[in-house]
Symmetry: C2
Amino acid sequence: MSDIPKSISIQEEGPREGFQIEPGPISTADKVRFIEALAGSGLHHIQCVSFVDPKRVPGMADSEEVAKQIKRRDGVQYTGLWLNLRGFERAVKTSLDIAGSMQMSASETFSVKNTGKNREQTLHEQRRLLDFYRINNVKVETAIVMTAFGCNFEGAVDPGTVRDCVATILDLAGEFGITLKRMRLADTVGWANPNSIARVVGTLRERWPDLPLTLHLHDTRGAAMANALMGLQMGVDSFDSSCAGLGGCPFAGHKAAAGNICTEDLVYMCEEMGIKTGVNLDALIECARMAESIVGHPLPGKIMHAGSLSRFRPSVT
Amino acid sequence: MSDIPKSISIQEEGPREGFQIEPGPISTADKVRFIEALAGSGLHHIQCVSFVDPKRVPGMADSEEVAKQIKRRDGVQYTGLWLNLRGFERAVKTSLDIAGSMQMSASETFSVKNTGKNREQTLHEQRRLLDFYRINNVKVETAIVMTAFGCNFEGAVDPGTVRDCVATILDLAGEFGITLKRMRLADTVGWANPNSIARVVGTLRERWPDLPLTLHLHDTRGAAMANALMGLQMGVDSFDSSCAGLGGCPFAGHKAAAGNICTEDLVYMCEEMGIKTGVNLDALIECARMAESIVGHPLPGKIMHAGSLSRFRPSVT
């Protein structure tokens, strides 16, 4: 356990991955208020909106307006998600922080079902995007491997398959003169368990000891926090998470796709373990309560209901 | 991580700890149906009812009737909880499996607030009960240390305090010629984190290497599964848990918001890690769905909503 990091960084996904699947409607003002509160809690990276087809995801039709209204804080990255050139062209016109990312699914069947593209077609699309990023001077620093631990169509994913995906991504990045700063591993449909986290992270570490890894965990089957703990024990120092446990994947092959690991529960566990997050937990808990009030139904986060331990401890003066 | 056990045993707490806090009313027939389904899933120890004051806990007024109606399966222990002699006298008249237990709280303040007794008074009461068990030929094989990881009144609990509690319990047991087979450590109000689990379990292991430990975890702040993982890594092979996460409530206004760690989520994680539980996960998930239907509101378990992975895997023929 000596690999446990002293601090972690968190990318907050709630406003995008969370609000995207809500039946809504969620007002632009509520989205902006929530994003600003999240930034106020000390989170440094907030994925705010997605630029997807408003006909398919009507709840994200106001993404430009949300981006426009956010009162920005220094030192905070406000990002958006896009899945194709059309989305990128919308995003780049906003004041959001624009960075390209590469992506591939470890499960080709998932890729076909989710994006309509097999591996070869995905690579072709990635090249098109990378060309476009180069022309538009868009930096590309990260990539994501989806279904890195398993998928409903292909079952458990072999760590070697993930390694091959990462190798393909790094090769492609190399073609474009890009040095990736970070590789995200997504448990897109909730197949990960602590052992598979250890195996996949270990396999990648062995091949690329210096490649920083991020875990993007979903709490589909209740193991997300245990998976995060195993990630920490393996030295992972970066996590995607979602305030109040907002969210879920609408294209995951089953209806009850659970949200991301809950940001404030993760922050709580890390801080209790002496791992710094840079986040004010009580302020973040207030954000989670705000999220619950905005969506109008219970959300899965735990500590938002119980409260933090700070009120039971003598204050340090 | 070489201490990870090959198999674990589970004490199911749902019918007692779960139904006890439900506003109800829950019919006797529903309780019996649920208990029988749990036993059918392969669970070998089910705490069915509590013998507490029906004026304080009206939902448990039918405990005798529940005990009477259960169609018992061979090899399953059906137990009840009592907190004092009056409760014991009710329990012993039923057909439940009767076993005494010793208990102490690591936090004396919690003890006073919860039971009205300080440490000395608790020991006095324990002696009275042990006398009574001896006269009535009731076996005593386990003890529980409550608030073993922290408490809202005294804050974090020092592992040395837990060690002293265990020593006191073992001394008292010795006075009565009792050799305890198991010590339960309860995170009664949800203060545990993976580090404190490791510290407390490690401290007890160092002093009593052969004393089997059980973790009784609550998911008050979302860390229960991570705490269980750390317990497994420390070699703990026994857990109390609650089907569907009963005992918890997802509604923010509910004070007792946090249930035990969810049995089927724990079973899922363990089986995925190759740790045998003896439980049929899909049958247990059906129990969890039954529980949700009985209580009539969402329960916190995760895999009951997503379903197991079995339907995505080729069946072994």
